[in-house]
Symmetry: C2
Subunit: 694 residues, 2 copies
């Protein structure tokens, strides 16, 4: 068993130590890297890396690996697409996928790739707009101004613009992306090797997975030309080598106040974990209904188990008394410095208590917020579609700045891609999920809650779920398009039971969201800005912001660690993959690997770990050397990395990657994927700005 040990890290408070930090491309500690590793990335190097990197809008990272739009990411980042393209007869999850020709590359029903082209600081503009405002006024104005900024920027559907909140509101940056919505599947191995070891090995190391897939971005029906991409490294990663990870860490909470952390530890996480655990028990047993039910729920099972293990690890970090005490001490130290300076005290002194009060209020409404508005009570793709249609009919007629944020003009391309996606929806799974979540809704709010009575009436959760799922027409994207185009009138006239359910839910759902945004979120936002500014004043700005699922770069080295008194070697080899094979899922290798065993060079490095600071969302990130060449593919963190949500401990926190050599070896000898290999040829020329290490 592994115990999660997390040491205090004064993130956003003191200059980062060790290899810590998920840095923005415009505030990278190049000098520090040079000091430790003898290589100083130039801004040109950083820009090239940024432009060669990609974000998957669904929640992953990726990289361009050829001039012809070839994109590498994890298998588990493309598995939604792989599953959606599969049928009972053609199961690409089980058997893998390889497009032998460009014509065989198949479009993913709902995948979006983003390339970050520009970063603009809009902090002053937003601060000016909200100056002196609080509560509803603050929230409305901030939302409107963000929408304006994004709309001005988003000149076409091929441009995506997000105002990114950095340092808990200490900075606002406008991130402008090139957007690719035509993404086609090129290669995916079998699930059995991509996720070899399954949930038991997830977030663990040593590992033996080939968690890779390739997709291609298209423009106007042809492979997109991508000037910036990462060439493949000849040598691959070696122990001790300097490595960079360029990706999109989803969320960290290192800058949160103690009140916010307590809320996470004592309220949010325990509730999330219990809900996930129960859902996990349900979905695993659901899989036994039959092979088709298993196939169509595999992706959901994976998502649930992954989330459960990740949150459990984070929860354990916060339950570590010493670690939490260090968080309390850090905050007290900062507050004392603020209190000692009359001017700072006046500006910032009340911020922490204001946040604490808002968190107390949040406790009172969190169940309603989660269950009515945030999907926990209506876990169903069809319900989400109905809700989007109902809401779009209300929101889109409004001026851009007054809409709920996700209905902004700037967000329309992503919204529509999602809404009209032809990805298959499975009614039996929908009923099971919806019944489950309606049962939890009734349990958490109580059967006598007016909303519960309104929704269920005399029906049981199963009766209601069965009626609306079997009765709806929304599985057909054309029906969605008609309702979307028809607007308010079409929605009002619709007799579709799922639309009617969404309409029934809508007023209560909106009300609790409004209450949250105006009375809680706005208070937290406003006062978090103040805390962030206090930190800047006290500790300076040479720090990195918490992760926000926007592109970042981290640095580190290939390095093992100590666990339970034993050294864990940083690199595993293909031979170990075969040693771990038992023949029983999830430790059963696919036939292709067993057949290819004789051909494979078993001393090929398989997976490896580095000290790079990453978090969920970084999955699929390129691992590169100082020449900006691919040496690996990030697919996980070790169990100790989960506490990284709250602080980084270089002694044990590790990024887990597939080795670049393993990818080439497998593509060649297991899959004969020559089309892909030809595009990934190791570069002849060195990367930009490469300097010899000292």
């Amino acid at each position: 068993m592994k115990r999660l040990v997390v040491v205090a890290a004064l993130v956003s408070a003191l200059p980062a130590l060790a290899d810590e930090g998920m840095w923005t491309y415009n505030n990278f500690p190049a000098a520090k890297v040079k000091e430790k590793y003898g290589f100083e990335p130039s801004q040109q190097w950083l820009d090239k890396v940024r432009l060669s990197s990609a974000r998957l809008a669904g929640g992953c990272s990726a990289s361009f690996v050829s001039p012809n739009g070839l994109v590498m990411t994890n298998h588990h980042c493309a598995r939604g697409c792989v599953e959606q393209l599969s049928t009972a007869d053609k199961d690409f999850i089980a058997n893998g996928f390889y497009a032998k020709s460009q014509q065989e590359e198949v479009q993913c029903p709902a995948m979006e790739v983003n390339q970050l082209t520009d970063i603009t600081d809009v902090t002053d503009r937003l601060n000016k707009a909200t100056q002196g405002l609080t509560g509803k006024q603050y929230a409305d104005t901030l939302k409107a101004e963000m929408a304006k900024v994004e709309k001005e920027c988003a000149t076409s559907d091929e441009v995506r613009c997000d105002v990114v909140t950095l340092y808990q509101g200490g900075q606002y940056n406008l991130y402008k992306y090139r957007r690719f919505q035509d993404v086609r599947l090129v290669f995916a191995p079998e699930h059995a090797i991509a996720f070899f070891g399954g949930d038991p090995d997830n977030f663990e190391f040593p590992r033996y997975d080939l968690d890779v897939s390739f997709v291609r971005v298209y423009q106007d029906g042809k492979p997109a030309t991508t000037e910036n991409y990462f060439p493949w490294s000849k040598a691959g990663a070696k122990e001790g080598e300097l490595t960079f990870v360029s990706g999109n860490p989803g969320r960290t909470s290192r800058g949160l106040t103690v009140a916010e952390l307590e809320y996470q530890r004592d309220v949010a996480m325990p509730k999330q974990l219990m809900a996930l655990a129960e859902f996990r028990g349900m979905i695993n047993e659901y899989q036994k209904r039959g092979p088709e039910q298993q196939r169509t729920s595999n992706n959901m099972k994976f998502g649930v188990e992954n989330a459960f293990k990740a949150i459990k690890g984070r929860e354990e970090a916060l339950l570590d008394k010493k670690f939490f005490a260090s968080k309390v001490a850090d905050e007290q130290a900062l507050r004392q410095k603020v209190a000692a300076n009359p001017e700072m005290k006046k500006k910032y002194g009340a911020a922490w208590d204001e946040i604490a009060k808002a968190e107390e209020q949040l406790k009172n409404i969190r169940t309603e917020l989660n269950y009515l508005e945030q999907g926990q009570g209506f876990s169903s793709q069809l319900f989400n579609i109905a809700k989007s249609l109902v809401r779009a009919s209300e929101e889109l007629p409004k001026p851009n700045g007054e809409r709920l944020r996700e209905y902004n003009d700037a967000n329309q391309p992503a919204f529509k891609a999602q809404l009209f996606s032809p990805a298959p929806i499975y009614p039996e799974l929908e009923i099971a999920r919806l019944e489950f979540s309606l049962t939890k809704l009734r349990e958490e709010l109580g059967p006598d809650h007016p909303f519960v009575k309104k929704v269920l009436g005399k029906e049981s959760p199963l009766t209601l779920a069965t009626r609306v799922v079997n009765g709806t027409q929304l599985r057909d994207p054309k029906v969605r398009e008609q309702l979307f185009k028809g607007g308010k009138q079409a929605i009002a006239a619709s007799q579709d039971p799922m639309i009617k359910l969404a309409q029934l839910v809508e007023p209560d759902s909106r009300a609790v969201r409004k209450n949250f945004e105006e009375n809680i979120e706005s208070v937290i936002r406003k006062n978090s800005e103040l805390v962030a500014k206090a930190k800047f004043e006290v500790y300076g700005t040479n720090v990195y912001p918490d992760a926000t699922f926007s592109p970042r770069v981290s640095y580190g080295a290939v390095q093992g660690y100590m666990e339970n008194g034993k050294k864990v070697s940083p690199i595993t080899y293909m031979s170990g993959t075969f040693e771990r094979h038992t023949g029983e899922d999830p430790f059963a290798l696919p036939k292709s690997w067993l057949d290819a065993k004789g051909k494979l060079k078993l001393t090929t490095p398989m997976d490896f770990v580095t000290t790079n600071d990453i978090i969920g969302g970084n999955s699929g990130s390129p691992m590169i050397n100082k020449n900006a060449e691919i040496v690996g593919l990030v697919f996980d963190g070790n169990i100790q990395s989960l506490g990284g949500d709250f602080g980084f401990d270089e002694s044990v926190n590790r990024t887990v990657a597939v080795h670049s050599d393993a990818i080439l070896e497998a593509l060649q000898k297991v899959y004969g994927a020559t089309r892909v290999i030809d595009e990934l040829r190791p570069s002849k020329q060195p990367g930009v700005n490469a300097k010899p290490a000292r």
Copy 2:
């Protein structure tokens, strides 16, 4: 939504306030009751009440309600028996059960009723035996001396003797029970009315359940004569009336140290809740495999959901910051008093820190303890039988005092009744449970743990579970008897795969238990004794001990409470039962009730609440008035009562009972159960010692 509010209660530290306390029959605060309610129970009254009460060894309470061995308890306390007697064709859970004649009363396969006949204080004897000892020596000697005391007392199989640890070891009492192992089912209503409202209404009020059943104890094949029993009250419970509950509260933790509570809050409970939540998700979905799978897993589903809700409520109490702070303050106050007195300091001063150290050690072994030894890794009745057989073959040849406690001579009747019970075991459910628990075993210890490797080998949890469940002969009680009688040799020669699995597990399982008992439990026991003695010295002995699933009596009154600013009336009526009927499970009344609606007096009180201090284990307790007449049947506590594990808050903590009038009305008009009614005639004579209230 209800928020659990628990106020500090200095249990075992200061004299109890309000209606607090689960009192022993030999230390009842009669004067306090007189002061508040004008009635002073005499020792004679208390003895009569004790002898009229009963304990179900499986974990419930009950009462004698006729001179001919008729015993009343909850439906949910007898539902194991009801389910075991059912078959796919005759489903007594769904349809209820009524023995129209004595010949139709059917024996429950595994039910034991205990009547507490004598209480002896054996504190001095045990203290002398263990004087000056620590660690393994302390643990071994205490165990041996307890076994000796119990063996001396247990002169036949009809006598059960338990040394009960009171006040965390401040006192040891020998409880001598009359034991009934021939228990037969007389009456049970349909599950739908017994548990009307199901899990959503569990631990809630207002309620509308008829959670009652009747069994009869037999001796030598004939109904046992029971001199002491509770007559039925004519009037039933009225608002404001003084009430007593005589039953067996299972466990409270009011006297635990802060270190022990922190362990519960931060380690044990979160882990338990996640495990239960996942199992719950599994079992609810398992029920969809088919009607027979549903029938055979209903009891398990109920148990899991009940435990989950109960622990969740307790966890919330400990997460209440103010409440926990009060626990910390109480302990500090006591420790300061101890530290201020040199003699006390020497005797008791180190006890708290010793307990804290032991809790830290417990954190390191708890997963192995739970999964290897305490059943979490091998959730299967058949495995438990195999383990009992393997262990009995090792233990029984040893001298009585050296055996593992549950293999003592005094425990043999209960052990054998369990081991040889003909209750049906369902292989499909066994496989599902065992697969689930083996998967958790692998998850919690990791696939590379030597024990996991040893148990699973190259098998998956499903493969292993299927092989051992389908291959074992242990479903047949005769096979068990042969192996039991054959002892070590028979076990060694057995090729039964479940026996082989139990043998494989045994050395590791024993090792972790030994480590726990000698290095952790003994330290906690020893030092808890010291803490208890310190409390006696500082605060006196006029306090009640934590609950230990031994008979206790509590007092209170029929009284409503405030919830979310609204008054909750203390009594519900039959009319409300029909108003809550939706026709969909769990709010669907059985046909018998719908048919009888016209005949029923709808103004009959249905359920009610009182301020009595109870906890899980009290289910089935008689609720009596000062004449020692039945006025109700305890079947639940409200959600606020769950925090009662740690402290009692009279303002909201309520006992929930079925009203005595509802039982009579339903027996008569819904079920025509005249045989039962005839035995329950309201008493003509007043109870012992009754005095008019002031």
